[in-house]
Assembly symmetry: none
Homo-oligomer: 199 residues x 4
DNA sequence: TATGAATGAGCTTTCATTCAT
DNA sequence: GATGAATGAAAGCTCATTCAT
């Protein structure tokens, strides 16, 4: 198998790992992590379960690898954010970049959003939490009023929710993303100015 | 069995159904639906698995029953909303009442939020979706600009997120709830006036 | 419950035992013994499982009671047969009476025929076997040629099979029964004369 | 595991599927389908239940596979029968071949005979019924008198019953089989000539 | 790089049965 | 004459994982 000269079948030239990740992410996002079995993934790829174990030591490692491969941009974003001054412009830029980062790994974030209970028990849970904390730190002014802190967090959540909930809403997807972004930027701006305004 | 005078053990006088619901909800919210086995629930209650089946026909029915018992207030809210004029005051009141309703069934909503992938496959999935649609309809002005529609949805999601994400944030819980509510009311107000203001 | 003066509901005046037997036999015959649960029987009667246990000590006892109540005619037939001379007329009469007896307890015999593997393990298994042995003894001449012994047994089995297999065959039921009877009588006659003829 | 040189244990070289079928058929025939659990089969083979599921998707598939593997001769017989003229010789030959076919798959047919209620609910039920219909069609003259139709069916049933009921009867097995066959051939002959004779 | 064969643990569910009321 | 509540045992089945080849 996989050894035909013409390569009609099984032309996988070492990209199996990739294909596993792709299929797994798709299924995890659609059905949830626990409801997706390795058998199912294997069948979709027309390989055996054992083959998956050649590429990944456990089921968990598949989702971990996806997480690590796809969330680098967010890690980068946080690092960038930390080096910037806490100005309004910075915060707005962070929101913009975060929106772009989310859009770039939609299925993963959909998965994370819809399987929080599961994620919490997985190894990625803590990493994710820390990342969220990092984001908060660079966007929230710890001395601001509670309302404004909530506003900042709300900005982030608006971006998250925007990705999935708005799927039901009619309208051009690109326009929707822009609208979501505008609201988020707005929130972060109000948070920033509120803090300043009330001084 | 069930014969001790002090009633310490086995004082189950017909409250077993309730106790099952309580424990199940707690565990479902903590660990997720699939990761919570009936064995685990039964052990927590010191009964056998079979006893669960005396009270509920399936595992799914447990969560369904919780859903039906606990979401009545929201159904009522939607019905009330439909009968009101689409004024700003109404929308604000809806947000306030929704906040209260969420607070009244925290664990269930935490479960729903954190197990969306699971819920979607369960029988409650559709009901929940429709309920959300109902909420949107009474809070969103379909002729408003996209940004304002997003703002309205963001208000709802701020309430949702507020319940759980803010747990990490330090501060008095009651104060936090008020802050969240204020932001949500703000958003819905902006949505309403934006629509009006730009006319 | 069951105590209303008008008796609209639960007018069962002590005939519950009967009703259990009726429903049980119907279900056992339709679905088999193992596939029929006490829950199912109870639901058909609109009583609880526990009620069945008031009338019968075990599930097995239900089928045993049916067997005992319904196979008396065959026991009688055998006793009668034993007291008769082993003439052709006797044998023919036995076949005729056996046919009538089978017709009188169709569902039970259908059950016995279609659940032999089960029956064998039940308490009635041995009783049934002995009854069959009794029948054979009064219809088979132990000194006859093997072929003629087979013919006698075949006569009995033709009657058995006739009851169920012929259901598929088109034609008036009464006519079919007569035809079956004729073939059986024929077989037993040939068996008797063959034995005699070859002497 | 599976590494001993002498191969006493775990010499399973791919014959496990076969061994499962063998043991399963034996137990199904002895105790009935429902009373035979997969645990029991697995224990007899000294493997785990899960191993059975590697080879068969469900319990039902085990019996289905047996049916498909073992009833080919009968299917062939029916096909052959259809291509032959409806002469007496053909019918007699069919009876003879059917007798041989039954003898070749005794345990399966014993199972089918003794678990009819179960078989009816299984996937093989319909196939079996059709096969029986096929047999009837090539052996019964639809224009013959009812008695003669019954005689033909009786021939088939004599063969069936012969296999099991006669186990109790003393005498050389081979002789018994011959006797049964003779009676069956006789019946089919009478059926054929009766039809002819009464014209 | 993969497969074939298997395992051990665990799952949801069903069943016959019991017993205090 | 019956119910409500529960049990212990077992069933069929699925899953992540292993390992020799």
């Amino acid at each position: 198998m996989g050894d035909t000269m013409d390569g009609t079948k099984h032309q996988r030239r070492g990209n199996t790992r990739q294909r596993i990740q792709d299929v797994a992410l798709k299924l995890f996002a659609e059905q949830g992590y626990e409801k997706t079995s390795l058998r199912e993934i294997a069948e979709h790829l027309d390989v055996t379960k054992a083959a998956l174990y050649y590429h990944f030591k456990t089921k968990e490692e598949i989702i971990v690898s996806l997480f690590e491969d796809l969330t680098q941009p967010i890690e980068d974003l946080i690092e960038w954010g930390r080096s910037q001054p806490h100005t309004l412009e910075t915060k707005q830029e962070i929101v913009r970049r975060y929106s772009a980062a989310l859009a770039g790994a939609q299925p993963l974030f959909r998965f994370m959003q819809e399987n929080q209970a599961t994620v919490r028990e997985l190894r990625i849970g803590d990493t994710f939490k820390e990342r969220m904390k990092g984001l908060k730190e660079i966007i929230i002014d710890p001395e601001a009023e509670m309302v404004d802190q909530v506003r900042s967090i709300s900005a982030l959540f608006t971006l998250h929710a925007g990705m999935f909930v708005l799927a039901d809403l009619e309208g051009d997807p690109e326009k929707k993303r822009e609208a979501v972004l505008e609201v988020a930027v707005d929130l972060v701006t109000q948070a920033h100015e509120g803090a300043r305004g009330r001084r």
